[in-house]
């Protein structure tokens, strides 16, 4: 913490600045989306505690910079379109 310059009242002026901290490093299992199987129900989007699943023009994308690999998306998917794969094997 030696480098930190403290603001009066510990005010933080940059909204959403935890984005600097890429929690994707925590991940052991990576959710991999099979777009063929996806029916677009948006359950994965609704239930992600980290807001890492975003709608795109033609489906969903997973933000691996922040996904902690909890596996909720894979569990709630009604068509098993999201598979949890060991991180080393996915790379």
């Amino acid at each position: 913490m030696g480098e930190t310059e403290y603001t009066i009242g510990a005010v933080v002026r940059e909204p959403g600045s935890t984005r600097r901290n890429k929690t994707g490093r925590w991940r052991v299992f990576r959710p991999v989306l099979d777009e063929e199987k996806c029916v677009g129900c948006a359950k994965c989007f609704m239930f992600c505690p980290d807001g890492c699943i975003r709608p795109t023009e033609d489906g969903f994308e997973i933000d691996y910079d922040y996904c902690k690999g909890c596996g909720i998306c894979s569990k709630v998917c009604p068509t098993d379109a999201i598979e949890m794969v060991m991180e080393e094997e996915a790379e």
Binding site: T4, A42, G51
Partner: protein, 299 residues
């Protein structure tokens, strides 16, 4: 998916940034993310000390994309009262003031401030994210810990069988305070939760929403099972979804057939020590509570 933009059942905009330090699969972080979608951008948030405070604001960072303030453990409701009065004095009537406080910050440490806030009738949406113990300090029991749950301060042994006191029923206490809108919710039912927070926002006066938020490390289950565990809480009747509008009670979800409580209890480490007799006793308590609520719903 066949090349079209998916239709979303809940608002798209994210007001809680990723990178926060909540555990993988955190029910409380999901609760905040969903509630913010209902509250919208024009909101000032007050948070008491707790999991959400420490995980979303590791100085000098913040996960919040709305103005946010933390003062202490016991006074989120008092701070929110002040923020609301200041906005009133400034003539700003289009800003929502919301509190996010855990069960510790609500049913124990922050209780007097909450009681005062609703007694004075401040126009604040108070959301309790209930993970049923003091989780970020290492799973110590709170007044919201359910009977028989093992925590680090109520370990299961021969004499003590986990938590030996009933779960403090703060939603009901809020109803008795005359709060115009009181609701219970669970993160496993996001559309119901969002609907209730939207209603709470519209109320002129205090509104209280109590949200059950499963906690993987504290309750002892795999991080992928948060939604399933919450669903089981509701499907077994261990947690009941209802709302009370101007004193009028309404069940907002009725399980088609209530599942045995065992299906909920067996999935969690905190209940692993339970004997068949003890599970039966919990079943009896849930049956009695359900009967009571059914009567209320019929009135």
């Amino acid at each position: 998916m066949g090349g079209r933009k998916p239709r979303l059942p809940i608002p798209e905009e994210e007001l809680l940034a990723p990178g926060h330090r909540a555990c993988a699969g955190c029910g409380s972080a999901l609760c905040v993310r969903l509630c913010l979608k209902a509250l919208g951008k024009n909101t000032i948030v007050v948070t008491s000390t707790g999991c959400i405070e420490v995980t979303t604001t590791p100085y000098p960072e913040t996960a919040w994309k709305v103005p946010w303030i933390h003062v202490a453990f016991e006074n989120a409701a008092a701070v929110a009262s002040g923020v609301e009065r200041a906005l009133k004095a400034l003539g700003k009537d289009d800003v929502t003031v919301a509190v996010f406080a855990g069960d510790g910050g609500t049913v124990d440490i922050g209780f007097q401030a909450l009681s005062g806030m609703v007694e004075r009738g401040h126009n604040v949406v108070y959301i309790c994210y209930d993970n049923e113990a003091y989780m970020n300090t290492g799973v110590q029991r709170s007044g919201a810990t359910p009977p028989y749950a093992a925590t680090t301060t109520t370990p299961a042994g021969k004499v003590w069988r986990g938590e030996m006191r009933p779960k403090k029923d703060v939603p009901r206490i809020m109803v008795d305070h005359g709060v115009p809108y009181v609701a219970t919710a669970c993160v496993s039912f996001p559309q119901d939760l969002i609907k209730k927070v939207k209603k709470a926002k519209k109320v002129d006066g205090p509104a209280y929403v109590h949200v059950l938020c499963p906690c993987p490390p504290g309750w002892g289950y795999d991080s992928s099972e948060t939604i399933e565990i919450g669903e089981l809480a509701v499907e077994t009747g261990m947690w009941v979804l209802y709302e009370v509008e101007d004193g009028e009670f309404r069940l907002t979800y009725r399980p088609k057939e209530r599942k045995p409580v065992e299906e909920y209890l067996k999935r969690q480490k905190r209940f692993q020590h339970l004997t068949e007799d003890e599970i039966e006793e919990i079943q009896r308590m849930v049956d009695e509570q359900w009967e009571e609520l059914e009567k209320l719903a019929e009135k």
